[in-house]
């Protein structure tokens, strides 16, 4: 835990300073020049003694260079099962795409530090897309692909299908992960934007372990598939 904090704080300060320098050439005469959008989602599913999940994704910076902050985690039955943080530096390289590079720190299920690199942006047909590769200090390589799409049902009720797919280059036995595609999550979220920045939502999610990871789960007597109804709230600032 301490290591992560020590890792993150100087990185954050350094990154913010760089972002500031990039945008700082335009002073107040032309309005504000440092912007941010950090989206936080917290939701609850009534299973396993109550399961909470959080997902944070956002940036601070200017038009071209931005510092990205991401975190995701799960608390089940009052136990933190998963907690990961990412801090990345991003450059806008195409109207719709940013290239990111940075670090990821896992606190749970075990402490692990990764280098991270990827792209984020808007694919054709309005698919919000994140593709990130990770390389841990122990040499483990992983890949994560996330996509989502906003479909306005009305001006305030937004249907958001999403998918997340994880893959690994090798086994990570202590996490029950086998090489290859490890797990997929499909979901449909319905959020009601009371304001753009505040929206309660209900989500139906389906998670499944894949391949070798699924086999390991089965032999450990664990389920490989979970469907959940989640109730949550999405805020951004």
């Amino acid at each position: 835990m301490k290591r992560a904090v020590f890792l993150s704080v100087p990185l954050l300060i350094a990154s913010l300073a760089i972002a500031r320098a990039e945008t700082g050439t335009v002073a107040m005469d032309h309005g504000p020049d440092l912007f941010h959008k950090i989206v936080t989602e917290v939701d609850f599913a009534a299973r396993d003694g109550g399961e909470w999940r959080w997902h944070v994704d956002g940036w601070v910076g200017g038009d071209v260079e931005r510092v990205w902050i991401r975190s995701t985690g799960k608390i089940a039955d009052s136990e933190v099962e998963k907690a990961e943080f990412q801090l990345l530096y991003g450059w806008n390289v195409h109207p719709f795409w940013d290239v990111l590079i940075g670090a990821r720190q896992d606190l749970e299920p075990d402490s692990k530090t990764w280098a991270a690199a990827g792209v984020t942006g808007l694919a054709p047909y309005f698919f919000e897309t994140d593709a990130t590769a990770f390389l841990s200090t122990e040499g483990d390589a992983a890949l994560r692909l996330e996509q989502s799409l906003d479909i306005p049902v009305t001006q305030k009720l937004i249907a958001e299908p999403h998918v997340e797919l994880n893959a690994y280059a090798q086994d990570i036995p202590e996490r029950g992960i086998g090489a290859g595609f490890s797990d997929v999550e499909l979901g449909l979220k319905l959020r009601y934007e009371i304001t753009r920045k505040f929206a309660p939502y209900a989500a139906l999610t389906w998670e499944r372990a894949l391949g070798e990871t699924a086999s390991r789960a089965r032999s450990a007597g664990e389920s490989v598939e979970e469907t959940a109804l989640r109730i949550g709230v999405r805020v951004w600032f």
């Binding site: 032309h30 959008k37 038009d63 109207p95 054709p124 047909y125 306005p152 009305t154 951004w236």
Partner: protein
Amino acid sequence: MISVHNYLAAAALLIAAAFPAHAGEYRLTVSTAAVEVDGRTVEKMTVNGSIPGPVLHFTEGEQATITVTNETSEKTSVHWHGILLPGVMDGSPGFNGFMGIAPGESYTYTFNIRQSGTYWYHSHSGTQDQSVLGAIVIDPAAPPSAVTDRDHVVLLSDITPEDSDQVLRNLKADPGFYNYSKRTLGDFFRDARRDGLGAAWGDRLAWGEMRMDPTDLADVTGYSFLVNGRTPQENETFLYSAGEKVRLRLINGSAMTIFDVRIPGAKMKVVASDGNDVHPVIVDELRIGVAERYDVIVEPAGGEPLAIFAESIDRTGYARATLATAPGMEAAIPAMRPRALLSMADMGMAHGEHGSHGDHGQQESDPHDGHMDHGAGGHGHDGEHMDHGDGHMMDGHDGHHMNHGPGQHQNHDRQQNKGHEGHGDHGSHMHDGVKVSAAPEPEARPVGWASGFPPGAKVLAYEDLRRHHAHADNRAPDRTVELRLTGNMERYVWTLNDRRFHEASPIRVRYGERVRISFVNETMMAHPMHLHGMFFELENGSAAHRPLKDTVIVPPGKSVSVILTAREVGAWPLHCHLLYHMVSGMMTAFIVEPPETADTGLTRDGAVVPLAVSHDGAAARRGGHAGHGGI
């Protein structure tokens, strides 16, 4: 042969010059005040405590002396829009050595008035022009070409209770933040019912492939629309007596709003555009871009009250005032019409790979090299050939453009609407809880940029504008400067030639050089482009009667060109007048170099100005900005 009389006149002139007429003197104080906007009391910057500030009246030939005092806690400035003056008096921070007015400081602007007509002033600092604004009326030295009985300023503006910097932050975080007219699933099913599932799906795919939104007519909503600071409920009233000719000086002082203006029950005779007299043209309606001005003359037949009705083009609201013979009279407020949906043709210039642009209909060629000016003919720009491969707004365009006349409103409208019958004034449309005349089926939205006007209505087109006097100088331009209007909507970054202001190299022209500026709009939004310090001649097919303007709307996907002879020495901002486009980068410097020989003189005011642009403190931050020298 100088008579005593002339000596006296000369002496009088000298005295007048030393002690300028009191009438030309104004004191303006910029301060914050609590104002009520949309039912909320919010702090806004004001001029002399009000929004808008006072109307400044001048007479051509006199000297203006305006002292602006800044009582706010941030830097401010006041820019005199459309006024010919020495660069340092223009009030644009970072240009010509003017660096804004610091808190607690005053700045005295002095310049000789060498023009007449309808103008306005506003802050040129950050997002302040939202509320720091007012009208300028300059009487001509000679009697006006159109004599009227009444003369009223109709200053249209928009105001939001939100902090205007916060609006920019929201747009940067989510460019669709204020769009509550997005196409929904319901719209899809309705379109599928009407056009067939395949067509509706294909349309969604085409827009999706480009990652663009056809409902993107205005970036910001939540505005209240005002006439001289009054809401539609407060009903600004202009008095007249039956049989009188009333001049209305329409000024669009909005931050972000383009209006469609009409006076149901009366025709408007347009007699001036951007302060310059034009041959009168009688219209039912006109579209006024941000910062444009039109003088119109109305001759109400009876004593009935008439509504001056200005709908925002995204139809989120309207400004309204009343022409009445007595205070308190009201005319019926017309229903707002449906909002238009942009068409693929409005994306005309936005794609890199297309080779040609469909059908340009009939054209009137202009005696200028290589450029085509499409006159007022009934032509459409249906842009048959659309290649939206990896099209996005920053794609390089192929250098293959032409000048469509910018304002082919009604003609274009009919073209765009074939297949959608009965668009126009009678949609069933719920707005602000006001139910408008019911129709059995929801009306299809009119399609295309200049659309949604009632069939048969005469809508002012730029082609209709003919300068009152013919130009003596009709030389072809020495060169053409192409300015592509570009941007990245996904990021809310707006650019010229793909460069933000602080990245851009200025445009430099020689003193006396005759230059064409060709605006090529590669985005899907209209941009009212404004050049400080001088007028340009709009190439609208009116031969030697090219109208003089300082702001011109360049419609989505279209091109517009203007010509000017560079005689105003200085560094002049050239920018999109949509506030948040300008502050996010859609600006450059247009530098007119001083003449090489001293005897040709500098400006008509004789001012010597440092020809430099400082990108707002950039120089200061790098250590001193003495003289603001160098770019």
